[in-house]
Symmetry: C3
Subunit: 313 residues, 3 copies
């Protein structure tokens, strides 16, 4: 593989990417997939590069996935978490990021509870920024690993019907997936109670359903969103159990789905809420494939942004 | 050294190991001991292997020891601690472990407050699991490093009398050491108040003493257990000082011990409780040797489980 | 570069260093500066060395700076933070350090809230100790990076007037800088309210000012100290705003300074308190240069203490 060809300094959101960018990332990820299956899961590609995981929200999986991705590429990976950070001394996000940049990192992976946090960093920093989730805005690496998972099972998403189920309003996963799937030619519908649906969601070109059975009738792919327990309190549902009864996948409503449907979830699953345990572990579920593909996608992102000239695998 | 010969996917407890397994581990550890004394303490043996330290309980020493062991073997080591983990989002241990496994780690080192946690992981995961302490059940690497320490000072444990002193009921260190020492031919006695002694402890083939002087009279090796301050509250002792008076090693009762006795402690020592400071730092104490040997033993465990084909030192 | 020539096992404070030591460190740092600008920011110099970051106080920047420094030198770097450490189990600092030393680290970088913590470690440990800040005592790597920053802008500090402004009493940065700048031939004055000035500060050979405009009149270099919000409560200032009005650099008083003055700050800056935002980001500020130089200085310290025989860059 020659020079990267990715026409981006940063990965802030799927909205900014061209279809060709997405295809390049996925194609690169497929090459790293093979590295992750070797006995020696390590390539020297990013040797001497510094990757900073700058996490202002807890996220064991995403942080671990980026850390493993960076280390298998031979990068120096440094974790910084908000607890224990000088942000608790009243420092602004941007001040902190500028200080980190002054140490000459190559890539900063940022998770933050505020929408736009990574955009702010990208505007002021010379280092590449990967948005690892910013508030309810975007989580591009999640959408890319979801796409990779669908592609591995279906070959293409062109013309597929994808239903995204849950709290659409607060979900960066939903937003990134809507952009990504549409750019790749899928039809997307969103399913959830009116209280969890952004008012202008139809403007994104998605179909909106409020009843689960209607929303899933035509679905080739079902993406269940994680419900935040703390949000249920302010919702019309008196309990998680009520929510599960209306919007969870269980052994009854699974039978109404297409025979080759894929059930996806960004994790961690609230078992018995979004998905019944037997479904989460059953034949339709590709949840662990998503996690596996996450490492390959993140290796691809780190590689493509690193300016590494060649990929010797 | 050729292929490992360890007939185990996991290291869950000493109870599961054959004497020949223990001997192989110790023999391997002795080879790594030499690496740890070099100016360049690094071998390429586990290059491209991913080791996950999955710690649900705090343990600076054990985590650090495994981290150093992994890094000196050139493995990629990733630390995950419970604080900041998605377990706080209500995810089950097994769900979390399966998700981590989906990232293709080679070895998961697990510390958990529940007995059996590592066994559950080992049953469902293809990755190797090392139990770094599970509740009051086992802590096999501790017993192995303790054995290595005794062997280095005495050559053999065959026929030695080993006394383990303290809160036997709650001690995974006691349990692993009882199994380990007996398999290697030592006689083990346990010493402590009735309230800290499991009812059926004699079934393990150990002698039981409730008075310290009786318990230590014949001892070649004395293993002091760490007392948990929070357990003292529910015990018959009104204070740590009372406990120390009955079950601590001090400058008075040390004189009744054999002249070449070894005093051991898994750390961290409550100085003045289990052991008087001058004894902990004195000639009978091998406490810091234990720590040193811990790194070598853990390198041996990681190496033997890694499937690495050859050990180039 | 041949053997190091630094005549020190530890770096505990600037007070202990000769001018020739400081010059050697700075000269070494300048060589590493070039490494940090490369596409591949990595040299094999400390391969197989173990560096422990032992931090009992939070410090994202200093810990990150040492971690990056160590990794770019190819050392194995292990972070230990007080939260999650066995010190919370009642272990003494020295016990913990001895236990860590038993794992054969080469260098221990220690940050602690008590003055003298690193000195205690150095007295009892064979491993090299770098003091990364001990209470209100010293923070030598900060003074060295400050010196490097001044030298890069001015070539020499000989004869320069340096004003240090703020809470001198509680500042290890002030103390280390006073020693360092005086050894290198600068004149140092300290500026702050009487309540924040040590009684016997004049004994250190510095001029003392209580009014900002008098203190800064002759200054070639202004080092602003970070104000601790919790200390303001016990001070004569009713608020941070009051403090800022008397001791902050703003767009008014900046005009009274020399035209080529350098404004420095160890970070993180309380914007609008010690320094107005536009000044902190303005042409006089070298705050981010300080951070950049910090990595090079720490690489130099790790290298010079490591016993590495040769520096192949």
């Amino acid at each position: 593989m020659g020079s990267s060809g990715l026409n981006q300094k940063d990965i802030l959101g799927i909205e900014d990417l061209e279809r060709s960018d997405i295809e390049l990332i996925l194609q690169t990820a497929r090459q790293f997939e093979e590295v992750n299956k070797r006995a020696i899961k390590k390539v020297p590609t990013l040797r001497g590069k510094t990757v900073i995981n700058l996490f202002f929200e807890n996220s064991t999986r995403t942080r671990t996935s980026f850390e493993i991705a960076g280390k298998r590429l031979s990068a120096d990976v440094i974790n910084i978490s908000a607890s224990g950070s000088s942000l608790s001394k009243g420092e602004s996000l941007l001040d902190m990021a500028k200080n980190i940049e002054a140490m000459n990192p190559d890539i900063i992976v940022c998770r933050h509870s505020s929408a736009g946090a990574s955009h702010i960093l990208s505007r002021y920093l010379k280092a590449s920024v990967i948005n690892a989730g910013d508030g309810a805005h975007e989580h591009p690496s999640q959408a890319l690993l979801d796409l990779m998972t669908v592609l591995k099972h279906r070959g293409s998403v062109e013309g597929l019907n994808v239903a995204i189920v849950g709290d659409i309003s607060h979900s960066r996963v939903a937003r990134s997936n809507i952009y990504c799937l549409q750019k790749m030619g899928a039809s997307v519908s969103v399913v959830g109670p009116a209280s969890m649906m952004p008012r202008d969601i139809a403007k994104l070109g998605v179909k909106v359903h409020h009843r689960l059975n209607e929303g899933l009738k035509e679905a080739d792919i079902v993406m269940m969103l994680r419900i935040q327990r703390e949000r249920i309190v302010q919702s019309p549902f008196p309990s998680l159990r009520e929510y599960a009864r209306h919007y969870g996948i269980n052994h009854e409503n699974i039978n109404a789905l297409k025979k080759d449907v894929l059930i996806m979830h960004p994790g961690p699953v609230n078992r018995g809420v979004e998905i019944d345990p037997e479904i989460a572990d059953g034949p339709y579920s590709v949840i662990l494939d998503q996690v596996t593909n996450g490492v390959s996608v993140r290796m691809a992102l780190l590689y493509l942004l690193s300016g590494a000239n060649s990929l010797s695998l």
